[in-house]
Symmetry: C2
């Protein structure tokens, strides 16, 4: 017998709008005690008792924020949830619910939407957030995802961007720049594939970078880690646009300056190798590359002993008087004024 | 002197992403006591104390949900907020905050975005909701608006779709079908304009219908009206997809049937005239036309005296045993099974 290898393609129109919503949302359970009513009414109903509620939202557009040529739909669904939860983590809060709205053009069969929602479900399970609502509609072109993340925290736990004081230490989780270089590797492979569709990519040397790009994680563990160390950051932000841009946000809102030390930047050995291969300066990427979804925060000087040597955190600088400005102190001990350029700027170097 | 009549067109790119967000959000104040922190951090922070939180979200796509040929951007901004607040009203809750995400292609100059945000601001002021967050990005094609609305209510106030009992009365606010006929008038004018761009439309006979389409209102007053009458609906939903479809939702979730009476349907005289002009059956439109954003709810039979003769409400039917099904009882006293077809179905008649 000859096996039919054609992937199944079910038209979304066959299900109808309500059928499609039922189909896509049937796996979403309710696990958070704060979710009284999830999907299925005009609105979800939540009960946070004496907790404060934090809310953040992001819009992801095909061709602007992602490229389906190298972003599998399941990964995209996962990442779309993660980037929103990262914003909740950046408030030192616990993510509890999300809403997910999706618009797709009719070139997407039901099986593609199922992949996307499998990724969303996986992330919801991994981060223990309830999917409590959303909207599913058609688009004229491409795929659009809009997610709103909701979280909770006690008022005294919440960390804003505006609380950094001069002499505070600047701390970052994880390492920097890998997601950006992962994107460069994937874009190069896309070019190769376009020239020779039969080429078999060997991506072993890039696994960490590609994973950082395709399957980032939100640092929900940091809240617990800091709580155990009895540290409350004075300000915090997540790194989505790039370290440089995020430092500018903290400094602007806290009315302080900053010295960032090049030799302190946490970077992965694979990242260094690939920067050399691409002939890109690794510090430039570590500072301006986006999508790391690590947390950047400031702590009071007296908390130094609590964090010193902790493998989860790297002290990369300290805050200063606002009038001193925002500078990178290089390995050669020269001071360069930081600019918020975002990661599109790297290529212009 | 010769006046330059060219409308000003400022490229969005000139402002940069952060400049654009600052520009668009500078008029959004905070008025709700539950808003602790609005725009400007990774997430907004809200405090609902002992209230329950209700959340709903909608995605609006150019070419699918609206046509900029006859929808002015200011009206679109207003309507996008209203349709979300309507969902909060349908829970018998009070809308308190919204987030607004917008994606635009670069064919939109800054002045167009300003118009859109003027409408959003106007609605936020009118409905006394704080704009607490959002996202602004570029799209490959057209305009995309994603709004999440947040509201509050005491637990015992909240009305779900699933509480209708057999013998309950079915009640609707306002009148039905006008928004759909407004859309028909606007689409006809668009056709005329395409044939003859110099034609001057005379829309005096259609003002009410066009206003219902272009500037709908959410029934935030109903919560207060019902409270004053000491009525708590047993189930409630807003009419976005059409009366027929919404009745099916209430019946399905409440496990009841329904008799809807054709002669009770509240319709406006202008609506009747224009249905005749378009040679469309007015009952079909009243039942299947969408976007009225009126509220549909059920009340216990013993509340009949409280609502009888109230000009804000019309009793249009009653609930029955589930096994009796869902029927329209016509003026000729025949029973026709209702189908949830949504408003695209009207043209197939």
């Amino acid at each position: 017998m000859i096996e039919d290898k054609t992937p199944q393609r079910t038209s979304i129109a066959q299900l109808g709008e309500f059928g499609l919503i039922d189909h896509l949302t049937k796996n979403f359970g309710i696990n958070q005690p704060s979710t009284l009513k999830g999907i299925g009414d005009d609105a979800a109903v939540l009960d946070f008792k004496d907790k404060k509620v934090v809310i953040s939202t992001d819009l992801l557009i095909e061709g602007v924020h992602f490229d389906l040529a190298y972003m599998p739909l399941k990964h995209l669904g996962y990442k779309a949830v993660v980037v929103n939860i990262s914003d909740i983590c950046a408030m030192n809060a616990k993510a509890t619910q999300i809403t997910v709205s999706v618009a797709v053009s009719n070139r997407f069969p039901l099986e593609a939407l199922d992949e996307l929602f499998a990724g969303i479900t996986h992330a919801a399970n991994e981060y223990k957030v309830d999917v409590i609502g959303g909207d599913t509609t058609s688009s004229q072109k491409g795929l659009i995802i809009s997610i709103t993340a909701i979280g909770e925290a006690d008022e005294e736990e919440i960390v804003y961007r505006n609380g950094a004081k001069q002499t505070d230490l600047l701390v970052v989780t994880g390492d920097l720049g890998a997601a950006y270089m992962g994107l460069q590797v994937l874009e190069r492979e896309k070019q190769v594939f376009q020239v020779n569709p039969n080429s078999q990519p060997d991506l072993d040397a890039y696994t960490y970078l590609i994973e950082r790009q395709l399957k980032p994680e939100a640092r929900k563990d940091v809240r617990t880690l800091l709580h155990a160390l009895q540290i409350k950051p004075t300000s915090m932000i997540d790194i989505s646009d790039g370290l440089s841009s995020e430092i500018m946000h903290l400094c602007k809102q806290s009315k302080v300056g900053c010295n960032l030390y090049e030799d302190k930047l946490p970077i992965d050995p694979q990242f260094i190798n690939v920067c050399e291969e691409f002939n890109i300066d690794s510090t430039t990427v570590a500072i301006n590359g986006g999508e790391d979804y690590e947390l950047l925060f400031t702590i009071a000087m007296e908390d130094f002993e609590k964090i010193k040597g902790n493998p989860n955190f790297t002290i990369i600088g300290h805050m200063t008087q606002e009038s001193e400005g925002i500078h990178l102190v290089t390995r050669a001990n020269t001071r360069i004024a930081l600019k918020a350029r975002g990661w599109d700027a790297i290529r212009e170097e």
